[in-house]
C-alpha cells in the first residue's frame, strides 16, 4: 500500500485542481460578470490617465508615454484581478468556521493543496479575462505591445510572480490562526501589495529613493517584473537574468517562510464550533 501511495503522490494534488475547476464551472455566471468588470476597469484607466497626461502637458511622464502607462496599468489591473484568488479570505474563513478541521484530516499538505487549488482559478481567469483584455488593450493602444519572445519571458516571470503572491497570501492567511479575524489584515495586505507591486501606479512614478527601496521587496517581483518584460520588446540578457534571479530568490525564501510559519501557526489551531 505504501509504495502505491508514493507513486501517485502528485496525482492527489491534481485532484484538488480538478475539484476547483469543476466547482468554478458550476457557477458560470461568475465568469461573465468578471469579464465585464475587467472591461469597465480598463476603460476607466484609459480615461483617467488620459486626463492625467493632459493636465501634465507632457508627452512623457517619468519616462513613460501615455501608451506605456495605459498598457502597463490596464494589464496590471486585469492580472491582479485574476491572480488574486482570495486565499487569505479562504484560509481565514476556514479557521473561523472550524472547517479547517476537514483540511487537516486529508492526506495532503496544506500549502501544496492550496497552491494547486489556486492555480486552477488563476488559469481559468487568465483564459477568460487576461487574454481578451490583452487584445482589447492592443486594439486601443494601436498594437503597442510587441509580440515575440517577450511573451514567453512574461509568462515565465508571471508564473514566478504568482507563486510569490501565493506565498504572501498564505502567510497572511495563517496569521488568522492567532487573531481569529482576517478582515483588517486582509485589507492592509491588499493595499500594501497593490501599491508596492506596481499594480495601481507604475513603479517608475515613485520618487527615486522609494523606488530603489521597493526593488528590495518581494512585491515588485509579482507584477512589475513580468509587466516590464512584456512591454519591452527586448532587454539585455543581463537584465533578464537579474530579474529572473531576483524572482527565484524570492520564491525560494517565501516558500520556505510560508511552510515554516504554517508549521508553527497550525499548532495553535483551535477548531471553532462542534
Amino acid at each position: 500500500m505504501t509504495s502505491n501511495v508514493r507513486r501517485f503522490r502528485f496525482s492527489r494534488y491534481f485532484a484538488y485542481s480538478k475539484a476547483s475547476f469543476q466547482e468554478s464551472l458550476a457557477f458560470r455566471m461568475g465568469f461573465l460578470i468578471s469579464i465585464v468588470g475587467s472591461i469597465v476597469y480598463t476603460i476607466v484607466i484609459c480615461y483617467l490617465w488620459k486626463a492625467i497626461f493632459q493636465s501634465a502637458g507632457a508627452e512623457v511622464v517619468n519616462g513613460m508615454t501615455y501608451n506605456d502607462t495605459l498598457v502597463y496599468l490596464a494589464l496590471a489591473g486585469t492580472i491582479t484581478a485574476s491572480v488574486d484568488v482570495f486565499l487569505v479570505w479562504d484560509i481565514g474563513r476556514a479557521i473561523q468556521t472550524g472547517d479547517i478541521a476537514l483540511a487537516f484530516v486529508r492526506p495532503a499538505d496544506y500549502f501544496t493543496m492550496h497552491l494547486f487549488t489556486c492555480c486552477t482559478s488563476i488559469v481559468i481567469s487568465f483564459v477568460v479575462n487576461v487574454i481578451p483584455i490583452f487584445f482589447l488593450i492592443e486594439f486601443i493602444s494601436g498594437w503597442a505591445i510587441p509580440i515575440g519572445f517577450n511573451i514567453v519571458f512574461f509568462m515565465l516571470s508571471l508564473f514566478l510572480g504568482i507563486i510569490i503572491n501565493f506565498c504572501i497570501d498564505f502567510i497572511v492567511g495563517n496569521i488568522c490562526f492567532y487573531t481569529q479575524s482576517i478582515w483588517g489584515i486582509n485589507i492592509m495586505k491588499e493595499v500594501v501589495v497593490h501599491l508596492l507591486s506596481g499594480a495601481t501606479i507604475p513603479l517608475a512614478f515613485f520618487p527615486d529613493k522609494l523606488h530603489d527601496a521597493m526593488m528590495f521587496l518581494p512585491f515588485q517581483a509579482i507584477y512589475h517584473t513580468p509587466l516590464t518584460m512584456l512591454i519591452n520588446e527586448s532587454m539585455p540578457t543581463e537584465t533578464y537574468l537579474r530579474m529572473f534571479g531576483v524572482q527565484l530568490i524570492w520564491v525560494v525564501v517565501l516558500v520556505i517562510a510560508a511552510k515554516l510559519f504554517f508549521r508553527r501557526s497550525s499548532r495553535v489551531v483551535t477548531v471553532n464550533g462542534g
Binding site: R9, A26, G98, A101, F104, V105, A108, D109, V269, G274
Partner: protein, 361 residues
C-alpha cells in the same frame, strides 16, 4: 496485539480571555491580558483495539470532540501521548490522514457544488485508492444502502440525512483502519438514523474497521457500541462494556402510571411509595414522584424485582395508562458522575482501571 489507538494521559488546555460585559468591557478587552486556562480534556487514558466499536459519550462541552480532534491530528495535546496506527497524529498529519476516516455530523467533507459521485472520484485520487478497491467499495456501498440514485445530485441539493449518508460512505472509501464519527446522527429522522446504524455496523463487520463514535443518542450507542467511554468536564469517568454500564449504574427503570379519574399530587405519590414499600420489603429504595399527570416510580432493579413492583403498581388505583421507561444516557452519565463525587473514585475507578488491561482484542 498492539492497540490501534493509544491515549496516554492526554490533556488539552485552551487559553481563554476573561471577557468583560457591555460596551465598556468590550473596549477594555482589547487591552486585557487577563487569560484563564480552560482544561477541555484532562488526563484521558485509553487503548482501543483494531475492530472495536467504541461509543464516546458525555454531555455537551465534556471534551469529546476535542479528544477526537487530538486523535485525528487536528489538535496537538498540551501534554500526554497519542498514538494512532503507530504514529503521533499531529506530527504526521498527512500520513495519519491516509489511514483514518472522519465524519463530522455538522460539517461536510464533500464538495458543495459538485455531484456526489464527483466528490467520490476526487477523494479516490486524493487518497490514492486503487481502481479495483474503489469499484469493490462502491459496489459494497450500493448493496448496503442502495444510494446509486443519489450520486448525480449535488451536495447542496441534498437533505441532511442524504448528505450524512454520503459523508459516511466517503469516510470509508479508502479503507481506513479507524473511522472517527463526531455526532453522525445529529438532526436526523428515525428511519435515517436506523439506516445509518445498519450501515456503520455492517461496515465495521465487513472491513474490521475500528470505529470511535460520539453521540447523544442512546439508540446509536445500543445499536453500535459494545464498549463505551464516558467523559465529563474533560475527565474520563467510565470505560467498560455497555452491559456493565446498565447493570452497574443503570439498573433503573421507571414505571409511569396515570390514575383514572383522579389527579396526581404529592400526597398520592407518597401513598403509592409507602404502599409499594409495605407490600415488598426489599423495595426500600423505590421512589415515587409526580411527573405531569402521572406518577413516576423509579425501580432499582438489582434490589427489587421489576415485575413485582409493576404488579403492585397496577393494583394501586384503576389506571388509564401505564408506561415503562428506560433510563436515558444523560441520566446514567449524571448518576455515574454523582456517584464518583460521593464515594471518591471507588465504584467508578474500578471498572475504568480494570478495563485498561483486559479490553478484548
Amino acid at each position: 496485539m498492539e492497540p490501534v489507538i493509544q491515549l496516554d494521559g492526554i490533556t488539552k488546555t485552551f487559553k481563554v480571555l476573561n471577557r468583560k460585559t457591555g460596551m465598556k468591557g468590550a473596549v477594555m478587552d482589547l487591552f486585557s491580558r487577563d487569560y484563564k486556562e480552560v482544561c477541555a480534556v484532562d488526563h484521558v487514558t485509553m487503548s482501543i483495539q483494531q475492530g472495536e466499536m467504541v461509543g464516546y459519550l458525555g454531555p455537551n462541552g465534556a471534551g469529546k470532540s476535542t479528544t477526537i480532534k487530538m486523535m485525528t491530528g487536528i489538535l496537538e495535546p498540551t501534554s500526554g501521548k497519542v498514538i494512532v496506527n503507530g504514529r503521533i497524529p499531529y506530527k504526521n498529519r498527512t500520513k495519519n490522514a491516509q489511514n483514518i476516516g472522519v465524519v463530522f455530523g455538522q460539517r461536510t467533507q464533500l464538495w458543495w457544488a459538485l455531484p456526489v459521485i464527483e466528490s467520490f472520484n476526487i477523494l479516490k485520487e486524493i487518497y490514492c485508492v486503487p481502481d479495483d478497491l474503489y469499484k469493490k467499495n462502491m459496489a459494497m456501498f450500493n448493496d448496503l444502502v442502495g444510494v446509486g440514485d443519489l450520486y448525480s445530485k449535488t451536495v447542496r441539493q441534498m437533505s441532511l440525512g442524504q448528505r450524512t449518508l454520503c459523508d459516511i460512505l466517503a469516510a470509508f472509501l479508502h479503507d481506513p483502519s479507524v473511522v472517527f464519527m463526531d455526532e453522525p446522527t445529529i438532526g436526523l429522522d428515525v428511519s435515517m438514523k436506523s439506516k445509518i446504524r445498519y450501515l456503520v455496523s455492517e461496515l465495521n463487520k465487513e472491513k474490521g474497521t475500528t470505529i470511535v463514535l460520539t453521540t447523544h443518542d442512546m439508540g446509536d450507542v445500543e445499536a453500535l457500541a459494545k464498549r463505551i467511554v464516558i467523559i465529563d468536564h474533560g475527565k474520563m469517568i467510565y470505560d467498560d462494556d455497555i452491559n456493565h454500564l446498565k447493570s452497574f449504574f443503570g439498573a433503573y427503570r421507571t414505571i409511569m402510571i396515570t390514575p383514572d379519574g383522579e389527579d396526581v399530587s404529592d400526597e398520592l405519590a407518597k401513598e403509592c411509595q409507602t404502599g409499594i414499600r409495605d407490600i415488598i420489603p426489599e423495595a426500600k429504595n423505590v421512589h415515587v414522584t409526580v411527573d405531569e399527570h402521572s406518577l413516576a416510580i423509579l425501580v432499582p432493579e438489582d434490589e427489587v424485582s421489576f415485575v413485582e413492583v409493576l404488579q403492585v403498581a397496577q393494583e394501586f388505583r384503576p389506571l388509564k395508562d401505564i408506561q415503562i421507561k428506560e433510563i436515558s444516557t444523560e441520566t446514567i452519565i449524571r448518576k455515574i458522575y454523582e456517584g464518583e463525587a460521593k464515594d471518591k473514585n471507588e465504584t467508578v475507578a474500578t471498572p475504568a482501571a480494570t478495563n485498561g488491561n483486559e479490553s478484548e482484542a
